[in-house]
Amino acid sequence: MDMSTVEHAMLTPSATSAPASGTKVTARACNVYYGEKHALKDVSVDIPERSITAFIGPSGCGKSTFLRCINRMNDTIASCRVTGKIEIDGQDIYDPALDVVQLRARVGMVFQKPNPFPKSIYENVAYGPRIHGIAKSKSDLDEVVISSLEKAGLLKEVKDRLNDSGTGLSGGQQQRLCIARAIAVSPEVILMDEPCSALDPIATAKVEELMDELKANYTIIIVTHSMQQAARVSQRTAFFHLGNLVEVGDTRQIFTNPKEQRTQDYITGRFG
């Protein structure tokens, strides 16, 4: 990676583009190796809190790899090695003393394919608060489940059938159930790995609307293959290519006037 790219990647939000609040996630010289393969190269970036940051780039560019570093999902892959530093609120999340389970409660994740547990709608949402000891009593738990479903914009559709199986819902409802499950443990950061790629346009719009509401309270990072989705939902956009963070900036700027030729070629459909 050449120095100019590093400089871009290190750019903190400028005065004009700064979100109202501070930085939530900080990565410095982050590298990821899958065995011999150098999948992520020297990525340094600041992610502002209470806003939506989109990661875009062609398949295999490292965007999902980087996303999975932020809640240490890569730990589950034996051949994977992560170097560099990632901090959340100034706390090193690769600190050996850190409890990974606690970290994943703070950093929730929503995947490409909706993956509700084969349990009731209620149990899907109650599972996290229960194992993390968030709810003291049954009525506490009820409240967490209801408010999470409410925040996920799903309550109206499921309130009369909380004991039905989560897998019986439509794809879009299942994905919002997974979002409800993620926010039930009061995370600070929500990672979304192509959350809408298996959904129809209406369900996608509902998830996007939900993200827009959630950004008031959560820091959201979304990996998406849809440039239009990144442009629609995010405030900041980061473009990855061949493991490098090529450019990060205001979404408005990235999609109207990107600085890097590679970014421009990618978002205008001129790649390869």
């Binding site: 239009q228 109207t256 978002i267």
Partner: protein
């Protein structure tokens, strides 16, 4: 620039540029011919300009339609987005230039039988030359995506404004000399005003080109020299 993975997208953008070039050529041609008609007192030539303006209007509609299609079907981004927005705006300005040329042609028809005040006609001639030169430069800047040239066009518009101011003063004086001059002078004054407006549309085109190329608006306040809106000529003011 690298081609798009989808070839028909490139073809559409290319077609857009082609239509703009066509419109630009016609607008230049009509403006020149409108002045010729005026200078030569040739109402038939004037009629040709009036008829030819229709082609520019049709092309503008085509550009608009194409732009809407591209937005709907391709969801353009970055430089592509800037290009199609630029094409739409430039088509709009060129259509207006066409209208102004047509208006001059109509006036040429109306005053074909009047005696010409020579210095005013030659002043108008210089203004047409300047307006055409500027328009050509702006269109070249578009074709070549040349921000520097666009900036130059933008700055030089004040020369047209200065010519307009001087013609304005001259025509007022001419009217005061003899009330019988008022009819033709008013037509010529509107003609001069039309050319000044052509300069403004050219400036718009230059601004658009600058944005298209750099992604930024032209920053500073444009130097403006049309002062006729505050101008009065007193009796005996020569």
């Amino acid at each position: 620039m690298n081609p798009h993975t989808v070839k028909t997208y490139d073809e559409e953008l290319h077609l857009l540029d082609k239509k703009i070039a066509q419109m630009g050529g016609l607008a230049e041609h009509n403006l020149g011919q409108a002045f010729d008609a005026l200078q030569k007192r040739d109402p038939r030539l004037a009629d040709l300009v009036i008829v030819a303006d229709h082609t520019i209007d049709v092309l503008e509609k085509e550009v608009e339609e194409l732009v809407i299609q591209i937005i709907a079907r391709r969801q353009p981004m970055a430089n592509d987005l800037r290009q199609i927005m630029a094409a739409m705006r430039i088509a709009n300005d060129l259509e207006r230039v066409g209208d102004l040329a047509k208006n001059i042609a109509k006036r040429a028809g109306a005053i074909a039988d009047e005696p010409h005040p020579k210095p005013v006609i030659s002043g108008l001639g210089h203004m047409v030359e300047m307006a055409l030169k500027q328009l050509k430069l702006a269109l070249d800047a578009y074709a070549e995506r040349d921000a520097e040239r666009a900036l130059k066009v933008w700055q030089d518009d004040q020369q047209i404004d200065a010519m307009y101011n001087s013609l304005f003063r001259e025509l007022l004086t001419y009217m005061m000399e003899n009330p019988r001059n008022i009819g033709i002078s008013t037509h010529l004054l509107f003609g001069a005003k039309n050319l000044e407006r052509v300069g403004d549309h050219t400036t718009n085109i230059a601004e658009t080109v600058y944005y298209l190329v750099t992604g930024k608006p032209i920053g500073e306040e444009r130097p403006k020299s049309d002062t006729t809106s505050q101008m009065l000529v007193q009796q005996g003011d020569r």
